[in-house]
């Protein structure tokens, strides 16, 4: 299978382990990811909080580059990039918008390339029998809270699953042998977009997500978003202080857990690059034996 890949800025920085594990898992599964040449930042929340046209034009250049290189489907790991790229794809369905955006980026863009969240590609495009056949270290006994955050499931026009109770990642985790826990904070915002400008407000939101995962009996949280991950992982210590409770919840990208189940080395997947120590739980789980 061949896909375009739009890594986004975080995968070179705070989300480095997401990039490492994505590439390692894709290689193991025989999925061919071709990085969109010379891609640019999607504009994230800053562009759409300033100017609607800019917020469509920045991702539209990436869509136009993908078209030029004959890429039909673009896999996007970062949830924030996914939402902006998909929102642009939807906006470009309107002819007048397509025309105007084409003039802004000074490129022809037809809006033919489809933006797909990476979790969709791994969870929906792979045959279930194939996936279970390549799992060599099932994650038996590992209780995971699947945390989707906001941007993959809201708003409706771009959502990959239900905004209230998505299941796509829970099912993927179950296919790897893990046990997804039921909890009600799957899509409650972690405050990621406020982490820099309103850190106190953001921390309260982060702490709630962590607290309810813990109370649901999870051993760890799994996410598809580098912003949620750096918030939940890097700020977990501060959240423990705020809550007055111990959490000790490793935060995994779903690709890291896929890699472990596929028998890949933990260091190759970036599992040693976490704030909350992330390898012991996987070594100690029955999965490792």
């Amino acid at each position: 299978m061949k896909y375009g890949l739009y890594p986004g800025c975080s995968l070179n920085g705070t989300g480095i382990e997401y990039g490492l594990s994505t590439k390692a898992v894709a290689q193991k599964l025989g999925i061919d990811f071709v990085e969109i040449p010379d891609w640019n930042c999607c504009g994230a929340s800053s562009a759409h909080n300033r100017n609607h046209l800019l917020s469509v034009a920045l991702p539209a250049r990436n869509l136009a580059l993908a078209e030029q290189h004959g890429i039909d489907q673009i896999a996007v790991p970062c949830a924030a990039c996914y939402q902006r790229m998909k929102a642009a794809e939807v906006a470009l369905r309107d002819e007048a918008t397509r025309q105007e955006v084409g003039e802004v980026i000074e490129m022809n863009v037809e809006g033919k390339s489809r933006t797909r969240a990476l979790v969709e590609v791994f969870a929906n495009d792979l045959d279930a029998d194939f996936l279970s056949s390549v799992v060599v270290r099932p994650l038996s006994g590992l209780k995971v809270a699947s945390y989707y955050g906001c941007l993959l499931v809201k708003p409706a026009q771009v959502a990959i699953d239900s905004p209230e109770n998505p299941m796509i990642m829970d099912k993927l985790m179950a296919a790897l042998g893990a046990t997804p826990v039921e909890w009600s904070y799957k899509t409650e915002c972690c405050g990621g977009s406020l982490a820099i400008t309103r850190p106190e407000a953001s921390l309260g939101m982060t702490a709630n997500v962590l607290k309810y995962a813990k109370l649901a009996g999870a051993d760890c949280i799994v996410t598809p978003c580098p912003l949620c991950t750096s918030n939940l992982d890097m700020r977990q210590k501060a959240a423990e202080g705020l809550l007055g409770m111990e959490l000790g919840l490793p935060i995994y990208y779903f690709t890291e857990l896929m890699g472990v189940a596929l028998g890949l080395e933990m260091s190759q997947l970036g599992l040693t690059k976490h704030f909350v120590e992330a390898t012991s739980l996987l070594k100690n789980s029955p999965a490792a034996q």
Partner: protein
């Protein structure tokens, strides 16, 4: 806020509501104030006025008050309100529209949010990508919080997450053109 004669403000603010409808697709007259948006808002605790109250303020013509409100900058843009609104008001889009209009009117209450957006978009305009380290360092210096998040720096560094130099795309001219063309078409600072 002191006493306000709403019969005057409603009439005089019709232009603003028309603009929200035309430019942003947000019709505030659809809102019947059920409060579902605010009941589920994860950031409501950090707001002086919840999104339901902000909608009422604009319905009532309190345009300046809504644009200069700090509450619009506490919105995390999670879109929960928009997925739950029974009247399809799109409250998240409404809050976004107020942030854009506040910038145009020079009424941004949260200087940190304004600075963050400036630095973020400058990084994209200059290099085509966001350089996380450079942006945060500038933000801390310019917002006068030099050591904010500094305790995380050693961890980030040893994990290889702090790239000191920005990643620049080849065609940075394309970025300059996009920003210039947007400004030409829409005007204002982007």
């Amino acid at each position: 806020m002191g006493p306000i004669q709403l019969s005057m403000t409603v009439a005089s603010s019709q232009d603003f509501r028309d603009r929200l409808k035309k430019e942003y697709g947000v019709d505030v007259s659809l809102c019947y104030q059920c409060g579902k948006c605010s009941a589920g808002c994860p950031a409501a605790f950090a707001m002086e006025h919840t999104v339901r109250q902000m909608l009422r303020m604009v319905q009532s013509g309190l345009v300046q008050e809504s644009l200069s409100s700090y509450s619009i900058w506490s919105c995390a843009g999670c879109e929960t309100c928009s997925t739950r609104c029974p009247r399809q008001v799109d409250p998240a889009k409404f809050m976004e529209a107020l942030r854009i209009e506040a910038k145009k009117a020079g009424l941004v209450a949260d200087k940190n949010a304004d600075l963050f957006n400036d630095l973020f978009l400058n990084s994209v305009k200059d290099t085509g990508r966001l350089h996380e380290v450079g942006m945060i360092a500038r933000f801390n210096i310019l917002s006068g919080q030099l050591f904010k998040d500094a305790e995380h720096a050693p961890g980030l560094f040893t994990q290889g997450k702090l790239s000191i130099l920005p990643h620049k795309i080849k065609n940075t001219e394309a970025m300059a053109k996009i920003f210039a063309n947007v400004q030409k078409k829409r005007g204002g600072k982007s």
